[in-house]
């Protein structure tokens, strides 16, 4: 397998001269990479770009794919991720700002966001705080959809909470779409993530999320939410879809 140090060798060995009002000094362009997470299609590193704390996301080559296909996929995802992140940032949605991207190498460098993953801290939040956070999440998703962006993986694992602030991360599966069906899938993914991991809090979380989402999307929200119900019934063998026989159980 390739190593990120080889892929980014030129950046990691480049020195930059920084001139400020406090003088002139030399520093590394990119350094101190430390692996923090290995996901399904990318590895995440913490590091420093000049003196800034950054996160490096490297979509590694997939040896089980034909090379050409792999390169096409990685390029497309890097470009989509950067474009959607920038558009969201410009619309005032709190997302980490992409600072550097290289589609050929499958690399994006993001601003580092301090804080904790919402999924890990839901249990420590009191109900009013949790409600506030979820309402904000509803508003942000509503805004994303209004500007034609679908997140693609809107779950509590992709939200960072830092004090009063809430950030949306990982636009790795994001794309541009104005179709309400696509928007409904985003909401469905969010609901399922809370139902499967935050048993007992899901009612508050859903209610407050819907409040925030509706505040932004107004009447459209109702259409999207009714589509969410439809999507649930797409699943394999969902009983409520068609009831032909009655199960009495043992």
């Amino acid at each position: 397998m390739e190593k990120v140090d080889d892929v980014l060798a030129d950046l990691l060995s480049e020195d930059i001269v920084v001139i400020t009002d406090r003088g002139v000094r030399k520093c590394r362009l990119l350094h101190q990479l430390k692996e923090v997470w290995r996901g399904a299609e990318a590895v995440i590193y913490r590091g420093k770009l000049l003196d800034m704390d950054v996160v490096v996301k490297w979509r590694f080559p997939k040896p089980y794919l034909p090379r050409e296909f792999d390169e096409m996929m990685r390029r497309k995802r890097v470009i989509d991720e950067v474009k959607t992140s920038l558009r969201a940032y410009a619309a005032g949605i709190p997302v980490p700002l992409p600072l550097y991207a290289d589609a050929d190498r499958g690399v994006i460098v993001f601003q580092y966001i301090e804080g904790e993953v919402l999924r890990d801290v839901v249990d420590t939040l009191d109900t009013p705080t949790l409600c506030r956070v979820c309402k904000e999440l509803g508003e942000y998703l509503g805004k994303l959809h209004e500007i034609g962006i679908v997140h693609g993986d809107y779950t509590t694992g992709n939200v960072i909470v830092h004090g009063e602030r809430v950030y949306i991360i990982d636009f790795g599966l994001a794309m541009f779409s104005k179709r309400l069906d696509d928007h409904a899938i985003d909401v469905h993914i969010f609901f399922r993530s809370i139902e499967s991991t935050h048993i007992g809090r899901e009612e508050t979380m859903k209610k407050c999320f819907i409040e925030g989402y509706t505040a932004i999307r107004k009447d459209v929200a109702r259409v999207v939410l009714s589509k969410v119900d439809e999507i649930r019934k797409w699943g394999r063998y969902v009983a409520e879809r068609k009831l032909r026989s009655v199960w009495m159980g043992s």
Binding site: Y64, P66, I185
Partner: protein, 333 residues
């Protein structure tokens, strides 16, 4: 303990007899498969075939196990999910046997049975399960007493995608020749990758857009072998991707592939590479037990019966839509 299991959820009437007394647990494994002359499975025609074959398959199973029905401890039957008319054949036979021979009747979920026989045969302990068959595409993992659906197809199943494409472009039926799916075989000569819709949403996949786009490309004159290659790569990779997501999130150390489509050597090779990247163990259920059979129903029935799961004959109705994540698995923790 000996349990007789009956499978008739779709195109197979299978009767298996298993025992927990020996390492060699399969005492009988008899099957009859309905093969349509053309097109897909017509539920009525399939059920007619199953009803005709049922007595003969049952007889053969008892003969090859050298036992009589009075020797078995329980009758297990797949009550769902599946095609209604086909399920009714197996359920009717099972209820009749249970009533006449006064044996306890054990309800079995067909999908759970695919998983349990896979675990029994491969020796996997707690894997991420990739369930690929004609009617199912799902990634599952055992969590809090049930097999939970981590991700699944939002529309059609993988087997369904490959078979429908093959049929529409004239490559099949039959869909599997010499262990290779006709689409896999056709893809071997493909050279150029076309851009087809790759849909991974959260932890789910979707294939209907891919099918439409692939057929359109073919009808607009694209080279069939290129279309096969592109279709296969997009479909297989999206499944690999959600399996990888499940691995990284559940932190399980094993992957097991089950179901009829698991037999594809191409897909298997891809999963082997995936397993190497994540340093996990990979298991593939051998084709003989990856397809529908009575042994898996009998074995799951045995596990369930030992955990006290039985059903009154009067309540043993079929359930066409019976999700795998609705079933409690008390024999595992």
């Amino acid at each position: 303990m000996k349990v007789l299991g009956i499978e008739s959820t779709a195109h197979t009437f299978g009767v298996g007899v298993v025992s927990d007394e020996h390492e060699d647990f399969i005492l009988a494994d008899e099957r009859a498969n309905y093969v349509p002359e053309k097109g897909g499975i017509h539920p009525r025609e399939a059920s007619r075939f199953l009803a005709e074959k049922a007595p003969e398959v049952l007889r053969r199973a008892l003969d090859s196990a050298s036992i009589s029905l009075s020797d078995v401890d329980a009758i297990a039957v797949a009550l769902g999910p599946g095609l209604g008319p086909c399920l009714r054949v197996g359920a009717t036979v099972a209820r009749a046997l249970a009533a006449f021979f006064k044996k306890p009747l054990v309800p079995v979920n067909h999908a759970v049975a695919h998983i349990e026989i896979g675990l029994r045969i491969t020796g996997a302990r707690d894997p991420v399960i990739v369930y690929l068959s004609g009617g199912n595409t799902a990634v599952l993992a055992f969590l809090k007493g049930r097999y939970r659906v981590f991700g699944e197809t939002l529309d059609i199943a993988l087997g369904n995608l490959l078979d429908t494409f093959a049929r529409e472009v004239g490559l099949g039926p039959p869909y599997v020749v010499g262990g290779f799916h006709v689409v896999d075989r056709c893809a071997e000569k493909g050279r150029r990758l076309l851009e087809l819709p790759y849909v991974v949403r959260g932890q789910d996949v979707a294939f209907s857009g891919l099918l439409t786009a692939a057929l359109r490309a073919y009808r607009q004159g694209a080279d069939l072998e290129d279309v096969c290659l592109s279709l296969r790569e997009v479909a297989y990779n999206s499944i690999i991707e959600i399996a990888a997501r499940c691995l990284t999130q559940t932190k399980k150390r094993e992957v097991m592939v089950v179901g009829g489509v698991a037999a594809s050597p191409i897909l298997r090779a891809k999963f082997e590479t995936l397993a190497k990247i994540y340093g996990v163990d990979m298991y593939v259920v051998p084709p003989k037990y990856a397809v529908d059979n009575g042994v898996m129903i009998a074995w799951t029935g045995l596990l369930a019966y030992k955990s006290g799961i039985v059903i009154d004959i009067a309540n043993a109705v079929i359930r066409q839509r019976w999700r795998v994540d609705e079933v409690d698995i008390p024999w595992r923790r």
